[in-house]
Symmetry: C3
Subunit: 477 residues, 3 copies
């Protein structure tokens, strides 16, 4: 290890490892065995079109600030308006368009991220990926802007070059059920089909009282080439689209519901509600019941086509109506709410919980159910696995607490290992690196407390970093 | 301390103590003062008949695998069917009956228990009680089977010999309200009456819409020799049975309810519901209300006969209907649910919370209420104590979190100290040992942070391990 | 630092800092930079009349035991009756009146406080403020009583002298909306107006089905000199009183509600409910709806007059009806209950969450909402800040958990820094000292884990201890 010259910005090799000397020493040993494993990134929100285009990224503001709701929300929380960060308005009203100004606002607010995972991720990106010379600040903003811009202009910083540099073995995108998957097809033609795969996300079609639902249903019919004028046609079209996703390399579905309810309806009731929805006459209660019913239907389809089923309830989307009206979704106003799992998942688990063809992964953003509900459920039903700590919780202490709350009841092997949930392509390696460090630290504590042998800790660490995610999302067909 | 010969399987003397050197050193000192205290085991599920028979235990599969829902659920969660573990079917269908095959399946899956308390308990049993030569694995399975079998065939491994070896000062069994208590009587005749005592568990009689409730009521009448054709007769019969339990050495009652509700009914309403139940015409809502009412009645009876009252709400039993139909209860499908305590316990505490004749111990499996509800309640009502972390939570980190969440509000002296909840007779010493280590570690941290003196920590540790459980369940009559 | 003579009672300089040597060393450095900062105490329950009178305090029992619900509840929980602690009865019935006897009971029960913040606070007060010679015990009780009494008799221990000695830069009292504020006026005349300020607490006027509400409304009209015979008059009177508080130096309002609901009513509905309340015909549901509505009205008024708005829901007051009937409020029976925030605060945040004129501080006593609801909300809405851990949670581990649960999502700068919640004047420095130590320990861990630089940690620690509370409660007018 070379000693950095004075003043250079480097990251400490022991960052995010436990402070205690005995435990840190063990953690170093464990982490050394996972640090260089390839990245398996099975749940994310990177744009397939951008990967397919493989064009140079835009400016630093466009890459790092404007689309990152973590960054934006923190600065907004201190009273800086969205406009100053260049977050676009739906009405086309004026917002800051000078990327350098946006970047300066971000750099000047760097101290807000103290203690947050955003800070960890960005430091990793700025040092490891871009080799920046200094920390962000009002003073360094322009220099950093220029340093990043220069790198982004090179071919080494185009998406697919970075994909290799990041050692991404596979990356899953998230795609509406009505997606053409044309970008994936084009990528496959160029040999990327095993490494960039779509994920089937049918939420828009399952919430039958959504604005625009009828349009999406028409699009579904078109894409599937199946008439969707009845509940039966709707199921057939969904099944067809799932097959198309499987053919395009998909390994999973993804379901974001407010609640975890999976109570099935009778076919007759489901059909009745569907017909009412087509007529625009569905009630909110019926729509909610239908969406819960469809989760069990999706599980049924998964037992048939093999797609891993991902469920993540418990987020109230677009909490601020005025911000949503002005800016749309995904600008930092999705706020967790409590959700119940023991009763809610019971119907689905009753029918498919022991079905060897189902893999159900449940994510949550609510720590209170880890030890009370989710670990006990995942610790007995073979079809269910517990996903990684998600969203606000894929943070150093959040991930540590997750292991502490889950492991004693569910063990390690009823979790999926690390699954990132990333919109920001550049931060994928940072997130996996952080996860490997935190798991190393947790495992090191078990070793230091003589609750686990060192060779076991290393094996578990490698499983969590690499083998378990691969097993949770197997290739199909 | 002798150095173990190479290859022998030994346990580290510092296992489950904190990793930090300063804290560990203090923890060692504290633990050394509790390690050899006798075991007071006031809440468990060991079978009185087995103790009375004092016959040799069965084979390793029968002793360690088949009846242990912790073990079974973990292996089932990885897709191994119950049949392969020899869990019997109610329909008498074929399951694995070769104990060696069952044992091999268990050993081959040993890695699943990494990080779980099951691992800690079994290591303790296998090394400290059986002196096994190697860790379980597919390779060692047969050897270990033979080693265990050889020990179990000796008289030193019969139940009552182990009872002495384990230094069990007293063990409470759990018995239905309609139990004859004949095993306890026989044990008492042989001089074990002060050391093996029954616990009065009337759940079956309090849930008046249960299948089989009427039969249990008839049995109650018979055992109590009291006519139970009215609510009044029912109360008298329950009181009589409680007296019989007290006469047989019982110190406590035990109540497993879904919710903690203790709202009393008027005598007229209680009688009306009871009569409806006798006619088989009770509604679910009435039955639930009646069970809550009966908790306050049980508290009233405790103020009269002195039995400590144990309440543990918040578990949805037999979550999988299909597994319950096939295998019955207690095979790993009891899943926690959220329960409210502040309002729910209010009626009982309003009436008896300051009554010096009541000792109410509340257990939970939901960590979220420790600091929010249970510690504040136990920290003011003299009749209420907070039980030990229960079931999934009597784990190293679970017990540590319990102390962290409870102590600052309720102190140590409003908890009961360690109360195990054990079906597996062999693991009782392991559980108490683990608890003493975790409490030593927690106390050591307080000492290391100069929040407690060392002599105080030792006194508290001894209180938690021994004196508080004895005080919470005093001998009666 | 002088070495204390053998046997003297001293406090360890590292108390409440982390045990791990590396982390402790950093924590010492951080704490050294906050230890001597002035105290900003913006939320408390010290009596303005006592400060204004500036008379000698009473006896040790009157000062430390009888009015302190933390102390009283812990001793009561062990079966000592309130009477023995001199807690007065509303019916005037006999209670212990000998302060020395009360003090002895307290000292004899000293061990109950092991592991509690009460212990930390009292040790600080007894050693740092009173220089007592020994720990409390049955044996030392009389000596300590005399030592304390001797000090209290000196002028150096009168309230305003201590105010200076404690380096209290500013202290906020809590005052009903109908307070005359005469004590504050008198203090202001003597030059204390900038350092002792009132807080506007209108709860009594917002719960329109309270016993005595109508009397309070009449008092409101009188104090405000506004006719309150309609909802409009009621609003005008409240606005007038808020202005009077602002004129008297107030910086904040304080709202203790059972739930966090802020759903507004139409003016017509609000007026209808108000009129019904005046006639004594309001229903419980209407009263609850009105109180939620009034929170949003209070927020609206805050945007107009600048008072910081403090909200702390989630406590069931006076849990024991019999104790409340006998002794009144604030004797240890306020028990937390679960409350929901994401939906409940939405109406208020929808209207005023981005209003630069509102500062809303939310406190809770329920740890489960820190990471799930409150940190995500405070991490985006500029008008909302997350208050310090409150009541049962301003304890060493409680405050540490708060930082761990909050920081990664909300950062440091969406919290208010330390805000104590103290009735016990003598313990104010102890509470601030403890908070500074715990924050130093948390920050030191981030530094030790290379997640934060040391200079950043020092800056954050100073912000949390001093600058953030000042910014959250700015001077008005």
């Amino acid at each position: 290890m070379t000693v950095p010259s004075a003043g250079a910005w480097t990251l400490h090799p022991d960052r995010a490892l436990p402070a205690d000397a005995v435990t840190r020493d063990i953690a170093r040993t464990v982490y050394a065995q996972t640090r260089d494993l390839p990245i398996v990134s099975m749940h994310g929100h990177v744009d397939a079109a951008a990967l397919n285009a493989d064009a140079h990224f835009g400016d630093p503001a466009e890459v790092f600030v404007v689309p990152d709701h973590y960054l934006v929300r923190m600065i907004v929380s201190q009273g800086v308006p969205h406009d100053a960060l260049g977050v676009p308005r739906k009405d086309g009203g004026a917002v800051e368009t000078d990327p350098r100004a946006i970047w300066r606002t971000f750099c000047a607010n760097w101290k807000l991220y103290r203690g947050t995972p955003t800070r960890y991720w960005l430091e990793h990106v700025f040092v490891e990926v871009f080799g920046l010379s200094a920390r962000p600040s009002a003073e360094t903003a322009d220099t950093l802007y220029d340093e990043i811009s220069a790198k982004l202009a090179t071919d080494e910083y185009r998406p697919l070059a970075l994909f290799d540099r990041f050692d991404l073995e596979i990356l899953a995108t998230t795609d509406p059920a009505t997606a053409t998957l044309s970008d994936h097809a084009a990528l496959a033609e160029r040999g990327w089909g095993q490494r960039i795969v779509p994920t089937f996300r049918p939420d828009a079609l399952l919430f039958v009282d959504r604005d625009g639902w009828a349009d999406d249903v028409r699009l579904l019919a078109e894409r599937a080439d199946v008439a969707v004028d009845s509940y039966t046609g709707y199921l057939r079209a969904l099944e067809q689209r799932r097959r198309a996703f499987v053919a395009a390399g998909a390994r999973a579905t993804d379901h974001g519901h407010l609640l975890a309810d999976t109570t099935p309806l009778s076919d007759a009731d489901a059909a009745r509600i569907f017909d009412a929805a087509l007529r625009g006459e569905v009630t909110a209660a019926e729509a909610t019941a239908f969406s819960g019913h469809m989760l069990t239907e999706m599980a049924r389809m998964s037992t048939e086509d093999g797609l891993t089923m991902q469920l993540h309830p418990g987020v109230a989307r677009n909490h601020s109506g005025s911000v949503f009206a002005a800016r749309g979704a995904d600008v930092g106003y999705d706020i967790p709410v409590q959700a119940e799992y023991t009763y809610a998942l019971r119907p689905l688990l009753e029918r498919f919980g022991h079905d060897p063809h189902l893999r159900l992964i449940v994510f949550t953003i609510d720590e209170t159910v880890f030890s009370r509900e989710l670990a006990p459920l995942a610790g007995v039903y073979p079809a269910m696995k517990l996903g990684a700590p998600w969203w606000f919780l894929d943070s150093p202490d959040g991930m540590r607490r997750y292991r502490e709350l889950v492991t004693e009841t569910a063990g390690f092997y009823n979790t999926t290992g690390f699954v990132d949930d990333t919109r920001a392509f550049f931060s994928i390696p940072a997130r996996h690196d952080l996860s490997r460090r935190i798991d190393a630290g947790y495992l090191a504590r078990l070793v230091a407390e003589h609750r686990l042998e060192l060779d076991e800790a290393v094996e578990v660490a490698q499983d969590l970093a690499y083998h378990l995610p691969k097993a949770a999302y197997p290739a199909l067909g």
